[in-house]
């Protein structure tokens, strides 16, 4: 458990206790509401986690790294950004990976593009986001994120 999650547990648990003590009925009502909301999402979230597990077993971080190092920077950047969209590698795996990529001589632009789309655009969470926020919102947010990831990558390539 990372420190932030731990801190959240440490803050939320006593607050819920206090809330139950102070506004018993309202808290209970809100619990029923939240339960209803989460129940609708839970099955989909579990399905998505299984998809991520499968995806990560096929496209392992090392496979991606090897593949990216063979491409030229421009096409590499686009492909890196695309790979970043479909994979959902946790950041604590991605940073050391990208760090070793750059150290090993990989170009900085595709590496940054990969890092940014990796976390910001999620093809796998797409169905869930559509269900919760509608297609238009999801499509615009993801499309913009993709474009921004490329722009950030090229700017960083120019500066660093």
């Amino acid at each position: 458990m990372d420190i932030v999650t731990l801190a959240f547990w440490g803050i939320c648990l006593p607050l819920i206790g206090y809330s139950l003590f102070k506004k018993k009925n309202k808290t209970k009502e809100a619990t029923v509401k939240a339960k209803g909301m989460m129940k609708g999402m839970l099955l989909d979230i579990i399905a998505i986690i299984f998809l991520i597990g499968l995806g990560l077993s096929i496209l392992t971080p090392t496979v991606i790294a090897e593949f990216l190092s063979k491409l030229n920077p421009i096409t590499g950047t686009f492909i890196a950004a695309l790979i970043g969209c479909v994979t959902l590698i946790p950041a604590f795996v991605a940073f050391p990976l990208v760090g070793s990529l750059i150290e090993g001589g990989a170009h900085i632009v595709p590496s940054v593009a990969f890092l940014t789309t990796l976390t910001m655009v999620g093809i796998k969470t797409f169905p869930l986001e559509i269900k919760e926020f509608g297609f238009k919102f999801t499509a615009i947010r993801s499309g913009l994120s993709f474009a921004m990831a490329l722009i950030i990558a090229f700017i960083m390539g120019g500066i660093v």
Binding site: P127, M148, I152
Partner: protein, 244 residues
């Protein structure tokens, strides 16, 4: 019957098929996928209760007015800065942000600020920044952070202009009905049934209108019930029922 079932559990169905295909082609990959999945399931088990508690706490303690004031359409620059801060305090992956954002949206936060919270939640995490500094250097981290924050603001501005709130809560045409239940929004929490058992009932896990009589049913109570609905699935025709 089977088709509606598949439609309802589309994602689960797709995942299941992919796993079966994997099993046919490679035993090894199949078990590897399970091993990897286990790790992430564990992460979810740790994070989701926190999200659950946060959703409850926001609902009980933070008033609609406060959310409108700090995150609503007129919250301006202060709202945008506040949203980045909220999103950066994120716990867990992006899907964990969905319930909280939905709650904030229904309580009056603007679309632009929701985009900021969602994006910041995904990209800017305090432990991640420390990680990035360690492996890629402090200059790299700061530069990427600045560029990302700027990008998020631009995205939020554009999305806020293009997507109206009503498009997220897709509205059905209300012509003859006094009120209706948006079936794809109802999560079957049965709060409406508890509020007005004579009017609402749950059928196949969704709320339905059981009985409604324009003369005798208390329209104020229906408005109140609609406000209590966590997903705002009860839509009221303002022509028929007004709040006075």
């Amino acid at each position: 019957m089977v088709i509606t079932l598949i439609k309802k559990y589309k994602l689960i169905f797709i995942t299941l098929s992919l796993y079966i295909i994997t099993l046919i082609f490679s035993n090894n990959l199949f078990f590897q996928a399970f091993q990897t999945t286990k790790k992430y399931l564990l992460e979810m088990l740790i994070v989701m209760p926190v999200i659950f508690m946060l959703t409850v706490l926001i609902d009980v303690w933070i008033s609609k007015e406060a959310i409108i004031k700090h995150l609503g359409e007129k919250s301006g620059l202060k709202g945008a800065v506040f949203s980045i801060f909220l999103g950066s305090l994120s716990a867990g992956p992006i899907y964990a942000a969905f319930p909280i954002c939905k709650m904030l949206l229904s309580k009056g936060a603007s679309v632009a600020n929701i985009v900021i919270i969602l994006s910041a939640w995904a990209v800017i995490k305090l432990p991640m920044l420390a990680m990035e500094t360690r492996f890629l250097g402090i200059n790299f981290m700061i530069l990427r952070w600045i560029l990302t924050v700027v990008a998020i603001y631009i995205m939020a501005f554009i999305t806020g202009k293009l997507v109206k709130k009503e498009e997220i809560h897709k509205e059905k045409e209300l012509i003859n009905e006094e009120f209706l239940i948006k079936q794809n929004y109802c999560v079957g929490c049965s709060i409406c049934v508890k509020m007005m058992p004579e009017v609402f009932e749950i059928e196949q896990k969704k709320a339905q209108i059981k009985f409604y009589d324009k003369q005798n049913t208390d329209s104020n109570l229906i408005v109140k019930t609609a406000e209590k609905c966590p997903t705002k699935a009860i839509l009221i025709n303002k022509k028929y029922i007004s709040k006075n």
